[in-house]
């Protein structure tokens, strides 16, 4: 290791103490929120379950835009060809909602995120914008072909979730945009879904690996459509398209399904070693969990 000299007080001199409390805005409509955003950059917050833990021993000094008074942006609605989940919908809202079986992975994830306290405050929109590789909501939404709705004063665009989250803590959200909703096309709402989370303790645990799986079964009992996603094993949770393709046509019985899974199906994963587990372990555990998730179909479990 080289000897270096680090001068930690190298900031440009200030006139006085730094501003310690920022202007804070809590509009009641998306339109108003977007207008505020147009006036200058702001830290967008909702449940604050990621923002405030990042400020232990510090104060929030950036200007804040708090979305939690925007009532329209909370709740789950069935619309023509899709389900719309407002960005401010909490995990508890998701867990308690009455939804088709394809959403059961999402609802299971909702019940396993943090503790009840986090589930009552944390929002789906926040989970996506925070873009943690271990975000529990992402695999369950990926298997629903979820899209995000991004609003700006200049217009609204929709992006597939997989195109929205770009990397560890990186998203395609522009500075003038707000993520307002998650849309799940009804074309992806068929079948049943399951979610498996692996952590090193029972509650309040960041996932080592998680797997979400959704299968649609044809009239003959074979798999008509499959969607499998793995989280915490790559910078962004990802689907396993080769496995999904290989499952089509397989009789929907647990042992038949699991027998399809090959290590090479997990090729899209790029796990790392961190305080929770080694990369090798993650890869093996992901394989095991994918097999188990598939085994649970055909047993009536999910």
């Amino acid at each position: 290791m080289s000897k270096g000299v680090v001068d930690s007080a190298s900031h440009p001199p200030h006139q006085g103490p730094p501003a310690v409390a920022a202007p804070y805005l809590r509009p009641t409509s998306i339109a108003a929120a977007l207008q505020h955003l147009a006036d200058g950059p702001r830290l967008i917050v909702a449940g604050c379950t990621d923002v405030l833990p990042a400020h232990v021993g510090k104060m929030v000094v950036e200007p804040v835009l708090d979305l939690t008074r925007i009532r329209d942006a909370r709740g789950i609605r069935e619309e023509n060809d899709h389900w719309r989940i407002g960005a401010l919908t909490t995990w508890a809202d998701v867990a308690e909602a009455t939804l088709p079986p394809a959403f059961h992975a999402l609802q299971s994830a909702a019940r396993q995120i943090g503790g009840v306290q986090i589930q009552n405050a944390g929002t789906l929109g926040g989970n996506l914008c925070n873009a943690s590789p271990a975000a529990d909501g992402v695999p369950a939404l990926l298997i629903l072909d979820a899209e995000v709705e991004l609003c700006a004063l200049t217009g609204t665009r929709r992006l597939a979730l997989a195109e929205f989250i770009l990397g560890n803590r990186q998203t395609a959200l522009r500075a003038d945009e707000i993520l307002t909703a998650i849309r799940v096309p009804k074309s992806a709402c068929g079948g049943r879904a399951t979610f498996l989370k692996l952590g090193a303790r029972a509650y309040q645990v960041i996932s080592i690996v998680m797997v979400a799986a959704r299968l649609e079964v044809a009239a003959d009992g074979s798999v008509a459509a499959a969607a499998i996603a793995v989280g915490a094993c790559s910078p962004v949770a990802c689907r396993l398209p080769a496995l999904e393709a290989a499952l089509i046509g397989t009789p929907c019985a647990g042992d038949r399904l699991r027998a399809i899974v090959r290590p090479e199906h997990l090729h899209p994963l790029a796990p790392i070693t961190d305080v929770r587990a080694s990369a090798d372990y993650r890869r093996e555990a992901a394989l095991t969990l994918v097999r188990r998730a598939l085994s649970s179909f055909g047993t009536g479990a999910p």
């Binding site: 270096g4 930690s8 900031h11 405030l52 804040v64 009840v116 692996l198 309040q204 305080v275 093996e284």
Partner: protein, 922 residues
């Protein structure tokens, strides 16, 4: 603070208005702006749940709720639960002993309330789901679950009930009321409103030289900073330590830091300035040096020395030799050998270090969360260059200690600041700085050999252990000394060679943590006990029973044990559960699925009190003219219940009901020195002291009326009645001559357990008594994922006498929970997991049902036969769990924690070697 907004909401049924910055944490608003201190802060990150409040009936973390989001809503805190009397849930918490230290209790109560309002009689699974977000480090959760499940059985309003005092009764804790109402004041709850705030500037490097630049520009830029402290400002000695001969830790580092998180300076000012201060603005130049990150690095020949007077970076060592070890191994019928490794473990008490200090004339008064008031007082006085009596130390309620609060943390900084500024000064560590800067359990690296003869009797143990003691000595010498004495386990072994070294590294100091190194040693020795039993073809429990220490045996230090050696009784108590659990595991494993069950057993023994050193406690009890019986007791109750146990012993001995006692203390200006709350000593040592004092006082009381020994005492107002059959005599205390404090009778007694120094071979009498225990763990191992679920724990402990069985169970269950953590998940990696989401401790879902067997083999020296129980359950737990994993899988895990990836890797490696589980199990 700029830009405060008016905020109105309903708080516990009343409308409140407060002007605060909108992003201020609701926890801070409640505590600092509205002065409701019942909502506790453990992490500010949503990890611990101590700050749980209800908003519109839903449980949320107040630390993650911006004040502005409370606008117009209905907020409920622990202060709103009781309506003049305890509600059902609060009564249940008291009844079942669900609150120990009490720091998590408000959060637990609120989280449970959210559930019970929807479902008054919930299932256990629902209770676990509701409480999963609140961490408790003391109780092991089982009594909390019981309280929530049974809350609906309690009356809506508490009924007054006369407390009985009998030793052996499940008396609710005497300090429980404040814990369930939130009125108990912890370290961060007492500072006056005008106190200044103090924040430490800490090293970001594990090893570095540094220079602090002139401070004038900083002070000009931050007018809210009233003072900066560095080493130059320390009035007396800029060093402290828990063992005078080993004092080596500076209050503020001078020119060089030895671990990441070491303090180099402090800033003091108003809350806004201090809370908003960015440590990167502090003018310091760092010159990082290559750190000695572990014991290998520190013991290389070319390694730089952490301290000039510690050659080879060896702080100290421990040594015990008895018998002829080489001959014993040469003649053995069976020998086994293994290498074992453990990790840094963090105490993770839910209350970070906190307190405040002020100057009262020529006395410095310090109110802090601590386990050792007199020692803190003396060290602080030395740092201030004051005589000890000019420092008054008043322990606040302690939100968990486990050994971690036996070292000073905020104490010297608050003392110096308050002394120099003559203003009250407060400080509470953040969770990351608590984890980075305070002591840890020593990582151990142990090489152990055991030998037995062909009758299955242990002949010899050869133990060599190195322990990473970090950058400063702390309790390293104690660990180095305790381990060789205990490492042979509670077994009769003729030949022992045990050598330890405490090695200095650039890590946070390792110190005292429940067991002082013995859980690490038990993990190693008990693993090999299984291997040796298998080698000999003897049942693992029966092998231990065959070798158990009994009265009449000599220990590794040559001490003759004469009484209270309940080891064999503990094992006998586990025989039936052992057989049943073995059968259940066998039945499960016959299915040959991917999950395998296993059962493990492990034993422990533990010397109560200091090792071969004086260890006195003094207790005082007095009767006043106004009809009170005052117990002046300086033993700090850190949640384990010593205040209750000592009061029970006192009342029983006096022959008066518990509720006539007034408890005073601990307070170094009011109570005599009871010594540290450590080493499982308060029930035994302080309990014996209060027994002696109360015995003396009763004699004095009886003399007032010339009453006989058998007379029953009754105290009504100031009238003391002596009832002996038909003979009733009365004395009016108000008519007796009283001293200036109103005391009419008083007694004080000291007990110092008889020990002797150890000789060069470690031979002697290090402890006056030992606790013994045997524990069994049943686990389910997922062989594909490597996850381990503990299904059940059975614990048999010889406690001499259970003064309060509910509290004893609380210690056992809490120790087991910490043992589960050490066995399966807890591994502090310096600089990497200084929070409670990367560093994992067990949650409510991780602690299984626990069956406790209390063995009472009375200790003649102890009060009513009692000895200690604070640490024992921790010691045997990791060993039992690891043995159960081996039983389940055939794989010996030699490093804890046995995380899923390590277990998975070990199973895979064993399979790769072609070893079948059944072969290894023998």
């Amino acid at each position: 603070m700029t830009a405060s907004d008016d905020l109105t909401f309903t708080l516990n049924g009343r409308a409140v208005r407060v002007s605060v910055p909108p992003m201020r944490r609701l926890s801070q608003v409640l505590r600092e702006d509205l002065d409701l201190k019942g909502t506790k802060v453990g992490c500010d990150a949503g990890d611990c749940g101590a700050c749980t409040v209800l908003i519109d009936g839903h449980a949320v973390c107040a630390c993650l709720t911006p004040a502005a989001q409370a606008q117009g809503r209905d907020v409920r805190t622990v202060e709103g639960l009781a309506n003049g009397t305890l509600n059902r849930l609060q009564q249940a918490f008291l009844h079942y002993g669900a609150a120990q230290c009490g720091i998590c209790t408000p959060g637990m109560l609120l989280a449970a309330t959210a559930l019970l309002e929807r479902d008054p009689a919930p299932s256990e699974a629902a209770v676990q789901d509701a409480l999963g977000g609140v961490l408790c480090r003391c109780t092991g959760y089982r009594k909390i679950i019981e309280a929530v499940l049974n809350a609906h059985r309690f009356p809506a309003e508490a009924q007054g009930k006369a407390a009985t005092a009998l030793v052996g009764a499940r008396v609710p804790r005497v300090d429980g009321g404040g814990k369930v109402t939130g009125s108990e004041a912890f370290g961060d709850d007492l500072a006056p409103a005008d106190a200044l705030w103090l924040k430490l500037i800490r090293a970001p490097h594990a090893s570095a030289r540094f220079t602090i630049a002139p401070l004038a520009p900083l002070l000009a830029r931050y007018p809210g900073i009233v003072r900066v402290l560095t080493a130059a400002d320390v009035p007396g000695a800029n060093e402290h330590g828990v063992i005078p001969a080993f004092r080596d830790q500076p209050v503020f580092a001078v020119e060089q830091v030895r671990f990441a998180g070491e303090a180099i300076a402090a800033i003091i000012g108003d809350e806004t300035t201090v809370a908003g201060f960015d440590a990167a603005d502090f003018p310091v130049r760092w010159e990082p040096l290559p750190p000695l990150a572990d014991m290998d690095a520190a013991t290389q020949a070319a390694a730089p020395l952490l301290h000039r007077d510690r050659p080879g970076n060896i702080l100290t060592g421990g040594f015990v030799r008895r018998g002829d070890i080489e001959a014993a191994f040469a003649n053995a019928a069976a020998t086994v050998e293994g290498r074992f490794e453990t990790s840094f473990v963090e105490h993770a008490y839910i209350e970070p270090e906190a307190g405040f200090a002020h100057r009262n004339g020529d006395t410095l008064e310090l109110f802090v969360s601590t386990q050792t008031p007199h020692m803190d007082r003396d060290e602080t006085a030395r740092i201030l260059a004051l005589p000890p009596e000019k420092v008054r130390l008043v322990p606040t309620a302690c939100g968990g200690g486990f050994g971690g609060k036996l070292d000073m943390a905020v104490q010297p900084y608050l003392a110096i600041a308050a002394w120099l500024l003559d203003r009250p000064v407060r400080c509470a560590y953040t969770r990351p700085e608590s984890m980075a800067s305070t002591t840890k359990r020593h990582p151990g690296r142990m090489h152990v050999r055991l030998a037995a003869n062909n009758e299955g009797l242990l002949q010899a143990i050869d133990f060599a252990g190195d322990f990473d003691t970090g950058a400063y000595s702390s309790w390293g010498p104690t660990v180095a000394t305790r381990v060789p004495i205990h490492c042979s386990g509670p077994y009769a072994v003729g030949s022992v060679l045990a050598q330890t070294r405490a090695i200095l590294t650039n890590n946070a100091p390792s110190g005292a943590f429940r067991g002082f190194g013995t859980p690490q040693a038990a993990f190693a020795t008990e693993s090999l006990m299984d291997a040796l039993a298998d080698r000999l073809g003897i049942d693992r429990l029966e092998f231990r029973l065959k070798n158990a220490l009994r009265a009449g045996d000599r220990t590794a230090t040559g001490q003759l044990l004469t009484a209270s050696v309940g080891m064999a009784d503990c094992l006998v108590a586990l025989q039936a559960p052992w057989q049943a659990a073995r059968a259940a595991a066998q039945a499960h494993n016959a299915g040959n699925g991917i999950t395998r069950r296993g059962v493990g057993v492990a034993c422990m023994w533990y010397g109560c009190g200091n090792t071969a050193l004086p260890n006195p406690s003094t207790m005082r009890v007095a009767v006043t003219a106004d009809g009170r019986v005052v117990l002046y007791q300086g033993a700090v109750d850190i949640g384990q219940g010593s205040s209750t146990v000592l009061a029970q012993i006192c009342a029983e001995t006096l022959g008066l009901p518990l509720d006539v006692l007034t408890l005073v203390g601990a307070d170094t200006s009011l109570t005599p020195d009871a010594g540290k709350t450590s080493a499982s000593r308060q029930t035994f040592v302080s309990g014996r002291a209060i027994f002696a004092a109360a015995t003396d006082l009763r004699r004095q009381i009886l003399r007032l009326a010339n009453a006989g020994e058998r007379a029953r005492l009754e105290l009504t107002g100031t009238t003391l009645s002596f009832v002996d059959g038909a003979d009733v005599r009365q004395v009016d205390l108000a008519r007796l001559p009283a001293d200036t404090n109103g005391v009419v009778l008083a007694a004080e007694a000291t007990f110092d357990p008889p020990t002797s120094p150890l000789d060069a071979d470690g031979q002697g009498v290090p402890y006056a008594t030992y606790a013994f225990g045997a524990q069994m763990a049943e686990v389910l191992v997922d062989c594909e994922l490597g996850t381990v679920q503990v299904l059940k724990v059975a614990a048999a402990h010889d406690v001499g006498r259970a003064v309060n069985p509910a509290l004893v169970e609380g210690q056992i269950e809490g120790g087991i929970a910490q043992g589960i953590g050490m066995a399966l998940m807890e591994e502090y990696i310096p600089g990497r997991n200084t929070n409670l989401h990367d560093y994992l401790i067990p949650t409510v879902g991780d602690v299984p049902p626990i069956e406790t067997f209390l063995i009472e083999d009375p200790e003649p020296l102890g009060p009513y036969g009692a000895k200690g129980v604070g640490e024992p359950a921790m010691i045997a737990t990791p060993a039992a769990i690891l043995n159960a994993i081996r039983d389940a899988t055939g794989v010996t895990i030699t490093r804890v924690p046995a995380t899923p990836d390590r277990v998975r890797a070990a199973i895979a490696a064993a399979r790769a070697r072609g070893a079948k589980a059944s072969d290894v199990q023998g």
